[in-house]
Amino acid sequence: MFTQSMQELPRALQLLLARDQAPAPVAELPRRTFLKLGAASGFALGLFPLAAHSQGAAAPAALKPVEMPGAFVAIAPDGIVTVTVNRLEFGQGVQTALPMILAEELDADWSKVRSQLGTNDMAYADPRFGMHLTGGSNSIKHSFTQYRELGARARAMLVQAAATRWGVDAASLRTQNGAVLGAGGRRLGYGELAEAAMALPVPASVTLKDPKQFRLIGQPTTRLDAAAKSSGRQDFGIDVRRPGQLTAVVARPPVFGAKLKSVDDTVARAVKGVKAVLRVPLDRGAEGVAVIADGYWPAKTARDALKLEWDTSAVEKVDSARQLVQYRELAGQPGAKHFDADMAPLANAPKKIEAEFVFPYLAHAPMEPLNCTVELSEQGATLWVGSQMPGLDGMAAAHALGLKPEQVKVLVQSAGGGFGRRAIPTSDYVVEACSIAKVAQAAGLRVPVRTLWSREDDIKGGYYRPMHLHRAQVGFDAEGKVLAWDHVIVGQSILAGSPFEAMMVKNGVDITAVEGMRAPYPLPMRLTVHHPKQNVPVLWWRSVGSTHTAFVMETLIDQIARETNQDPVAYRMKLMGAEHPRHRAALQLAVDKSGYGKKQLPVGRAWGVAVHESFESVVAYVVEASVKDGQPVLHTVTAGVHCNLVVNPRTVEAQVQGAALMGLGMCLPGAAITLKDGVVEQQNFGDYTVARMTDMPAISVHTVPSADPPTGMGEPGLPPLAPAFANAVARLTGKPLRELPFKLA
């Protein structure tokens, strides 16, 4: 979701703090120097921030997570190794891959490795960004070395503890499968050594394994949560149950940002189980009503029984049809320039394509409806939430609750999907839950409150992938040489007005709107951008800008190949030249494994090809599609993937399978959020289409072997699917598809 220029992100936190006038700058957040290995006591790692306080260990030293193995690995006397993951687990498999990486260097017995999620403690910040973040397909990319070093350091401490116990030189010892081995067959399990090891200083430098020695990394490994998630035993944020907990369901205005004119709660209050009906401030200056009850059903029933009048006079009422007209008008005007090139050759180009593309708003619609549980106490607040940015959410919660940042503890919960919706610069649903907890407390309800959204609340709740319009004029010659490419993008900025604006909106261009443009082809492109303001909250959505830029690039490149009678694979290879070996390798692998160009397809089927890099990984798809009863059908997908070293092949395969399905979902009828007079027209999975089992093509996933440090795979499988599918359909119909979801004229 984030790109490289977010390396400056820690500044974003400072900006947020300045904006919200929160009490403490980042540098003064509570920090610990060293956390002991939690061995004998079975010390709960999730409680470290408070424990550190009580021990007076909150020294303001520079925090270096790689030097805090105790915050990440706990070894119990029975040898069970618990690894704390500094990310949200929401399907992408980091809660298995990161422990694999740590266990590799620790030489742990994999059958004894468990994992748990962390907190908003600074130990669990992304080591490269300096803030808590699960996004941008960065988890493995940024924490690969970190988790290797953590494992290696913990291992060195265990070896030293054994050396001391036996009175021998540590250099004479080796480790294997969760034990230290010495001369004469002597053996000590890690569980027996952990307590002594934890008292030792953490070594400053350690030697990491030669990747040739890896025995876990690279092995197809079953997820650590597979059994729990196959038996209903996995808990998610929505499953948190605190003593006395109540549930809040909120009536939000029909138009974003609107105010409440009047409330009649007579019927709502009479619903059995309802404890309070309270006005609450909502996201973006809106107002709403929270119904608090002893369960979701009474709260929701009462919410739906509220008689509400809204004041929408002060807010813009977006209308999708009008918006498209406005975007078309904007596309004809001068915009902010991102790329520049000489456009003079357009006038006399032998061949020309003029194209307009339209992409709708898209909801993330994670399967677990949004929720956040807030418990207030004398000391502060504890939040249970499946958050991609628990540090930012914790600070936003502190601001909403009038607390200091260090008084808010965020316990990151496994989430039922997210796709970007749980990384919100405004922390919308977390702040909402805190506001509700606050008004509930003021009303005398001194109990934990879980705020829970209905599916309709989620679909209508905003923070969509922005609607976009692209317009392109491409001039080229008979050999397909592009002479000039004039391109305009119109769409809301995701980052404008957010704490990330200063870093990621450059010269009026939000880089999340243009990522994926032009590359990997050396094209003479002029790219201008318009970011109109609209009263619709927008957000990154799995693979962000590449959700639309990959479609535009890869369908236009394909059309040039068709119009110049060139093979689409050969044409791409020719354009890329020798500059992009990873793209070439991924595409070639997909071609080889699919049988493209060799296999005879059944009548009515056509090949489609696309290749795209996002978040430093490359995915190429070769697909087979047909058109049946006027509807495009996707039959097979062959993926060629370049993500450097693969940590867990099963997870990479799963991420590509899933991302391909989500990409396919964008093509299906009904995969659009539209607005009429300011009101979102869709409600639920009945009118907002997502891919289902019956849409599923046969998918095979192949990775290019590599020993280079891994890049991420949470998102890169999504962008090239829709253009590959569209290119196959265009070959059948002779007409390019220029809109998502697909519309066959």
Binding site: G91, R233, K272, T301, R455, A654, M662, G686
Partner: protein
């Protein structure tokens, strides 16, 4: 008071009779393995068995299932249900779950489907797809679901 038979036990519930089975299970009985996804029988995350039939518990009032046998994911995968265990094992073997949130419902649909097959009969791929089409997985685990259902059927033959 409504009395429900849940996983072989009688449970007294002092909630409105219109309360969906889903919320009786989750909020009253603490059986949180059954998931809330859409509240409108559109996604299948809340699937339970009522007298052996797969039912969307989010739209099934408790008043409509008094005297019927309700079975949840906890009993199907954690007890002596041979089909449920086979499905669970296949799910683990194929590493189906990603976020895992929808998988309780997927497993309940798959189990109910396999129980409708005559003994020894292997389901066609299209039949598996049709049986599972009502269950949404936003992570897109369908390829593995398809393989796991077929594998579970083979293991039961």
């Amino acid at each position: 008071m409504t009395t429900l038979q849940v996983n072989g036990r009688a449970q007294q519930l002092d909630v409105d009779p219109s309360t969906p089975v889903l919320w009786a299970l989750r909020d009253s009985l603490g059986l949180t393995g059954t998931k809330f996804g859409c509240g409108a029988a559109l996604c299948g995350a809340c699937t339970v068995h009522v007298d052996g039939q797969a039912v969307r518990s989010c739209v099934t009032p408790i008043s409509s299932v008094e005297g019927k046998k309700i079975t949840t994911i906890e009993a199907v995968t954690g007890g002596d249900d041979r089909v449920g265990r086979a499905v669970r094992d296949a799910w683990v073997k194929h590493d189906v779950a990603q976020c895992g949130y929808c998988q309780s419902g997927q497993i309940m649909s798959a189990t109910a489907f396999l129980k409708t097959l005559p003994k020894g009969q292997q389901p066609a791929a299209a039949d598996i797809d049709a049986a599972m089409a009502g269950n949404v997985c936003r992570c897109g685990t369908y390829a593995r679901i398809r393989a796991a259902v077929a594998d579970a059927a083979r293991s039961l033959a």
